[in-house]
């Protein structure tokens, strides 16, 4: 007897102009198994995340979250069900500080309405400071996010998503923009935190080192299709992958 | 506030002040007029006229030796600025004159009453103010919409008795609507067989009447009434003239006296022109008068235009004020009247500006004769002048004191026409 998968897609198809960004994509993501998505640029990785979160509607196919069809729902309703997302280009509130971004996220999660209580005094403030510490950005808490480095913004973007306490977190190139010396450290913290909070993650990644070390499973995208899926060990050793994906990354 | 303090002080010294009031250094008057906006076609000439007349008055020694100084308030600057300014000026001024717009009169008349400052409604036409409330401080120094429209109906019935159909094109605001209410009700009573074939109320300031004119050409009524004024009237008449609408239809234009010069040759002969009162730069009874001629000449030299009705209305307000002061000084045998004495003098006041004498009724409404004529391109001026001028006595055009205009009109019948008095002049 198998439990319903956390997220499942069936035959997702969409075209942009002449380019097929998703071609009958059927993917199953089980709770507790972190999935890395790799593939060359333009393979449809981000499009996949966009469809899963309702940002783009597929021309055919369906998305199920915890067994329920969420295809027609807008992103906010899918988020409410427990899917959070971090972006390739950080999507932050640029006039706010790092901490405020997290406080806003917590406010949204809790549905805080009291017009007379300042956001800075909400009960979730400590929790959010901890989150910031976890992503190594505590010292930037009171700085406007526009003043921060790209790497820090990426991490805060992830923290904002984590603040929602999702069950599934979709990460689009979480370590791009983070200094290469820090990448592994950040990823380790992140994966540990996700495990502790029992959040399953799906991450698009270009760094094969990170993929091999942190993913439970790897799926390879190519021209809108899932070309291969397996453990990092199996997939990364596959000659097609070495040729099409890793080769490109090195170039 | 100063006024408030002044009245308090006045009350405290009542036994004394009832006898004497010091002659002020000058008589301050506040006058609202349109310096901006579309109605500045009336407001600006009125200010020019007022300045000429006040200068002359002061050269002749003012009122009992006291010179008059007028502060002008722009009616076009919006309601807040207008009321604030009115109050600021009213705190200093002994007499206020407000205003051109009927809407502004409705705002400022109760305000003047509250502030207890004598206010002369010098140009606005709405008959509602005195019919809806009693005022102690507010007087109207000219006729009102009822008299103006009644005279227009009478002139139309007398000069074009056989018309069968009529359409109206009025500006879409209180004046356009109210004047049509009065006119159409009077017509229904006095000539019940007339058919109203079209009613158009294009927006105030509409730049184009093409669609209305096309439709009017298709309807081809015998008579078209338009109480529009200023740029709207000019545009409508010009467009109608261009497209030949004026060839077969008689236009009745109760305010066209103020557009004669601008319309030039676009107002052909044979259309009915009104003057909102008993005044006209070639007034048949006044044009040989020396003062009248002197004023017309000076006004034309100063401004380059002929004086229009708003100028004459300003003159009437000034003359009414002067007469009231002189009457109060005379009757009480004082150097300068108190406010009470002045208010008493306004009751039943008779004065004369550039038309026939005007009296103020019991309800503070002015009784002024009405002059209408028919346009003619006589060649003496580069614009239409009037012929077949008729002047109607004012009293017969107004409902009795205390009666509502529309009720009065609805109660009239054809016998009303038999008792109408008017004087005719060829031109």
């Amino acid at each position: 007897m198998t439990a319903a998968p956390l997220l499942e897609t069936r035959d997702l198809t969409i075209k942009f102009g002449g380019i097929t960004a998703a071609d009958k994509v059927s993917v199953r993501i089980d709770a507790g198994r972190n999935l890395a998505i790799i593939g060359p640029n333009g393979a449809g990785k981000t499009t996949f995340l966009n469809i899963c979160t309702g940002w783009i509607k597929p021309s055919s196919g369906k998305v199920f979250f915890e067994g329920e069809d969420v295809t027609p729902l807008p992103p906010r309703k899918i988020v409410k069900r427990g899917v959070a997302r971090a972006f390739q280009i950080p999507q932050l509130f640029t006039e706010h500080t790092a901490l405020e971004n997290l406080l806003i996220s917590a406010s949204a999660r809790e549905g805080l309405r009291n017009p007379l209580r300042p956001m800075h005094r909400i009960a979730q403030r400590d929790e959010m400071m901890n989150l910031l510490e976890m992503v190594n950005c505590a010292d930037a808490a009171n700085r406007p996010v526009v003043e921060l480095s790209e790497g820090q913004r990426k991490l805060i973007d992830i923290a904002v998503a984590l603040a929602l306490k999702p069950r599934l977190l979709l990460l689009d190139e979480p370590t791009s923009g983070v200094a290469s010396s820090e990448k592994h450290k950040v990823m380790e913290i992140l994966i540990a935190a996700l495990a502790k909070a029992q959040v399953t993650s799906v991450f698009v990644e270009h760094d094969m080192g990170i993929v091999s070390r942190h993913a439970d499973e790897v799926a390879v995208w190519n021209t809108g299709k899932v070309q291969l899926r397996g453990t990092p060990h199996e997939v990364l050793a596959h000659p097609d992958v070495i040729h099409d994906v890793i080769g490109e990354e090195i170039a | 506030m100063k006024r408030f303090l002044a009245t308090t002080a006045l009350c405290a010294m009542l036994p004394l002040s009832a006898f004497a009031q010091d002659k002020p250094f000058e008589l301050q008057v506040g006058m609202t007029t349109f310096l901006t906006g579309p109605a500045s076609v009336f407001g600006v000439p009125a200010r020019e006229g007022m300045e000429i007349l006040v200068r002359k008055l002061n050269e002749d020694g003012g009122i009992n030796g006291v010179p008059v100084r007028v502060t002008y308030i722009d009616e076009g600057a919006g309601a807040e600025a207008l009321t604030s300014e009115f109050r600021r000026v009213a705190a200093e001024a002994e007499v206020m004159m407000a205003s051109i717009s009927s809407g502004n009169c409705q705002t400022l008349a109760p305000l003047a009453e509250d502030l207890q400052v004598p206010n002369l409604m010098w140009d606005c036409g709405t008959q509602r103010i005195f019919e809806e409330a009693d005022y102690d401080y507010v007087f109207r120094t000219q006729a009102n919409a009822t008299a103006e429209m009644m005279a227009t109906v009478l002139y139309l019935l007398e000069t074009k008795p056989d018309f069968q159909t009529i359409a109206v094109v009025n500006q879409d605001y209180a004046w356009g609507r109210d004047s049509w209410d009065i006119f159409s009700n009077a017509l229904r009573v006095l000539k019940p067989d007339v058919e109203i074939v079209g009613e158009f109320f294009p927006a105030f300031g509409a730049p184009d009447y093409s669609a209305e004119i096309s439709r009017l050409q298709a309807l081809s009524p015998d008579v078209i009434l338009s109480t529009s004024w200023g740029g709207d009237l000019d545009t409508f008449v010009q467009q109608a003239f261009q497209r030949g609408l004026m060839n077969n239809t008689t236009f009745v234009l109760p305010l066209a006296e103020s557009s004669l010069e601008r319309l030039g040759s676009s107002l052909p002969a044979g259309h009915i022109v009104g003057a909102r009162g008993d005044h006209y730069f070639l007034h048949p009874e006044q044009r040989d008068d020396e003062d009248f001629q002197a004023f017309i000449t000076e006004f034309r030299e100063t401004t380059g235009s002929i004086p229009i009705y708003s100028v004459f209305h300003a003159a009437q307000a000034l003359e009414a004020m002067k007469s009231a002061y002189e009457k109060a000084i005379d009757e009480n045998d004082v150097e300068w009247p108190t406010e009470e004495q002045l208010l008493a003098a306004f009751e039943e006041l008779e004065f004369q500006a550039f038309g026939r004498p005007i009296t103020l009724r019991e309800d503070n409404q002015g009784v002024e004769a009405q002059l209408l004529g028919t346009s003619v391109q006589a060649g003496e001026y580069p614009f239409a002048t009037l012929e077949d001028i008729r002047i109607y006595d004012g009293a017969q055009l107004l409902p009795p004191v205390g009666e509502n205009s529309l009720d009065w009109i609805k109660g009239l019948d054809a016998s009303y026409l038999e008792n109408i008095e008017s004087d005719s002049f060829e031109n």
Binding site: R76, V79, Q91, H96, V160 | I73
Partner: protein, 332 residues
């Protein structure tokens, strides 16, 4: 920027920042106006009424949106009051105010449901279109609305008492002041609260807002209704002060004027809305009194100077004077 400003304002209390002290002094000075400078009472009353409406526009500005039609709510509320007083002569002042606020809130919801789908120029234009539709209706349906001359809003009674003009104006003045202080305080708190902060994220990132599980439209609607009610309160006060309401209350130039004042005071600043309204009203009235032919020109030049040389508005100048850099607010 504006957020940190709000936050420092909040966090600085109950400590006495120069801003808090000055605000308190300003309110005290206003309380004393009817006693010390009665000739200014009416002018300030009008400015406060207008300031409330500007505060409404300011709220919307915080979400990065500009409405060129907020005079709609100003007018709806004033007309609601006028209709009420016409139907029920001697109705109470509180009732007039409530009717106005209710009218503004209802129309705010109705118009809001539609316009919150749009952003930027379209948002501004649609608001403009709605206000112009209402304006045309007011002008057109003369027999109900009095057309361009409007309708009189005769003096309502105050808690059952019929007052004379000067007493009524005194009541109105302090009512306006109380509403300004109350609404100003509430708006500041709301802006600093989670709901207000979420509202202000519309300015910077709606995508993220959607991915926080919230509907940007609904978030915008909440602030839109608040802004409509604020404009409505301003309109009710203005109508009662003037004693007459006309379609000019809704004319597009008045909406633009509100945006003008908001920017003049310091775009997005709550105090700036009122300071801007006071200064604007002074300039406008004195310009129209002493330069009747060119008052509009003077205001235009004034606006250009502010935008080109002091884009932070009067509050920006003020901050510079007391040596506080907005960006350094939280770091300090």
């Amino acid at each position: 920027m504006s957020l940190r400003e709000t936050w420092t304002e909040m966090s600085a209390s109950p400590g006495l920042s120069p801003r808090t002290i000055l605000t308190a002094l300003a309110v005290l000075a206003l309380v004393a106006v009817p006693l010390l400078a009665p000739q200014l009472q009416l002018l300030i009353n009008l400015a406060l009424a207008k300031g409330l409406a500007v505060l409404g526009v300011t709220v919307i500005l915080r979400a990065g949106q500009v409405s060129f039609g907020h005079a709609l709510f100003f007018g709806i509320s004033a007309y609601a009051g006028a209709f009420l007083v016409t139907a029920m002569p001697g109705a109470d002042l509180v009732l007039v105010l409530l009717a106005g606020a209710l009218g503004a809130a209802l129309s705010g919801v109705l118009v809001g449901l539609f316009v919150v789908r749009y952003r930027g120029i379209f948002f501004g234009m649609l608001n403009l279109a709605f206000s112009m539709i209402f304006w045309s209706i007011l002008e057109k349906f003369y027999h109900y609305t009095g057309g361009a001359d409007g309708i009189r809003l005769t003096r309502p009674s105050v808690l059952g008492q019929q007052l004379g003009r000067s007493e009524f104006e005194l009541v109105l003045f302090y009512l306006a002041l109380a509403l300004v202080v109350g609404c100003g305080w509430f708006t500041l708190r709301w802006l600093a609260s989670p709901a207000g902060q979420l509202f202000q994220t519309l300015k910077t990132n709606e995508t993220r807002l959607e991915y926080l599980g919230l509907s940007p439209r609904r978030v915008l609607l909440s602030g839109y209704v608040l802004s409509a009610v604020l404009c409505g309160l301003g309109g009710s006060l203005m109508g009662m002060t003037q004693g007459v309401v006309t379609p000019e209350y809704v004319w597009w130039v008045r909406s633009a004027e509100m945006v003008f004042i908001a920017v003049l005071g310091g775009a997005g600043s709550v105090r700036g809305a009122f300071i801007g309204a006071l200064i604007y009203e002074m300039v406008r009235i004195y310009a129209s009194a002493f330069a009747a032919d060119i008052w509009q020109l003077l205001l235009g030049v004034f606006l250009l100077i502010i935008i080109l040389f002091a884009p932070g508005g009067i509050m920006g100048i003020f901050d510079r004077l007391i040596g506080r850099h907005r960006d350094g607010g939280t770091r300090a």
